[in-house]
């Protein structure tokens, strides 16, 4: 599934990094403690977090993520959107919890071994 398919399927708002919408999403990850995410998030993931600080973009680049989804109705900082545009990392927004989106992604086959 490409990031743009995810956007369409779940009606996510795209607030930055539009040039990265053709990246492939192969995994999902949830986490708000960036020190932990930096060590554990899989490459190609859609990362769900409530953090909107610009450091999330650097973490996404480091872990070679497909996209960042800011959940819980949180809003990314202006600098975060600028960095995401520079790096081509899509910043998406989802109004509900990380849990509710992660469940939908898994059911749609993202990171779900049973669907392969």
């Amino acid at each position: 599934m490409l990031v743009k398919d995810l956007v369409e399927k779940f009606d996510l708002a795209v607030t930055g990094g539009k040039s990265g919408l053709d990246r492939e999403v192969t995994e999902g990850y949830c986490g708000d403690l960036l020190s932990e995410v930096m060590g554990n998030a899989p490459a190609g993931c859609a990362w769900m977090t409530v953090q909107g600080h610009q450091n999330i973009v650097a973490v996404a680049v480091l872990r070679e993520m497909a996209a960042i989804v800011i959940t819980g109705g949180q809003i990314p900082d202006a600098e975060t959107i600028q960095k995401a545009d520079q790096e081509g990392i899509p910043i998406l927004q989802w109004p509900d919890s990380s849990f509710s989106l992660a469940g939908r992604l898994f059911s749609a086959g993202v990171g779900n071994p049973a669907s392969e």
Partner: protein, 245 residues
């Protein structure tokens, strides 16, 4: 004349919900003197309502007390802010209160006791002081600087409520004056044990919530006087002022 100043720049009073009742103005000052500290800073969570009383008691008993606060940013990062005057600290408090929502539940989070320099209880602060403000890290640092103060990132070696724990690394556009390590990391080893500190000036403080923790660790400075002006010079390594340990 320059001299050694033993400083514990991060002490909570009984106003912090997670702090002990015994952290009263008189007892904090007495314990600090027993620990042979020359300089302390009072940094309660998102409030400075006990600072003036502790400064008065410190002046009476002969120890320098800096007005401060430990602020929780919206990224849930704790930052120690220190000021030259109680007026500046109270202006910071006014700014913080505008961006802090919720009411305390003493049975869950603890009591928030406002006391005077005679250790008389004046009342309880009703705000949710343990909460996060709606302010970003940059908002906090800029406001502290605007009021002539400084900003030190709290316990960066810790996994929770620390800048490196929450955000992975220190953002390049954040103009911190220093970083603090907890008692768990000897100051001399801080840069190797916590590589993310980089070139930031580094101090260590007790973050005391109980009397017996005051002065558990401290930072030794070479200063002309125990004041924020001198501390700022030491953090910048100016005119012979510096951090010793």
């Amino acid at each position: 004349m320059l001299k050694k100043i033993k400083a514990d720049l991060h002490i909570h009073s009984c106003l912090s919900p997670c702090s002990d009742w015994d952290m009263s103005p008189k007892k904090i000052v007495q314990k600090s003197l027993e620990q042979q500290l020359d300089l302390i800073a009072i940094c309660d969570h998102n409030t400075a309502e006990n600072v003036a009383a502790i400064m008065r008691e410190g002046a009476r008993q002969g120890i320098a007390v800096l007005p401060g606060m430990e602020i929780c940013s919206r990224e849930e990062v704790h930052l120690v802010t220190l000021f030259k005057s109680i007026e500046a600290d109270l202006k910071m408090q006014e700014f913080i209160y505008k961006h802090l929502n919720g009411n305390n539940q003493p049975e869950v989070f603890g009591h928030q006791v406002v006391a005077d320099e005679h250790d008389q209880v004046l009342g309880e602060n009703p705000r949710l002081l343990i909460g996060a403000t709606g302010l970003s890290l940059i908002d906090v640092v800029e406001k502290a600087h605007h009021l002539g103060g400084i900003c030190i990132s709290s316990h960066v070696d810790r996994p929770s409520y620390s800048l490196i724990g929450q955000l992975g690394f220190i953002p390049e556009n954040l103009h911190l004056d220093a970083v603090e390590v907890s008692f768990r990391v000897p100051l001399k080893k801080a840069r190797t044990e916590v590589p993310g500190i980089g070139n930031y000036p580094c101090v260590t403080s007790s973050d005391a919530h109980f009397l017996d923790d005051i002065g558990k660790v401290w930072t030794e400075f070479i200063l002309a006087a125990p004041s924020l002006e001198e501390l700022i010079m030491a953090l910048a390594g100016k005119d012979g002022r510096h951090i010793v340990n």
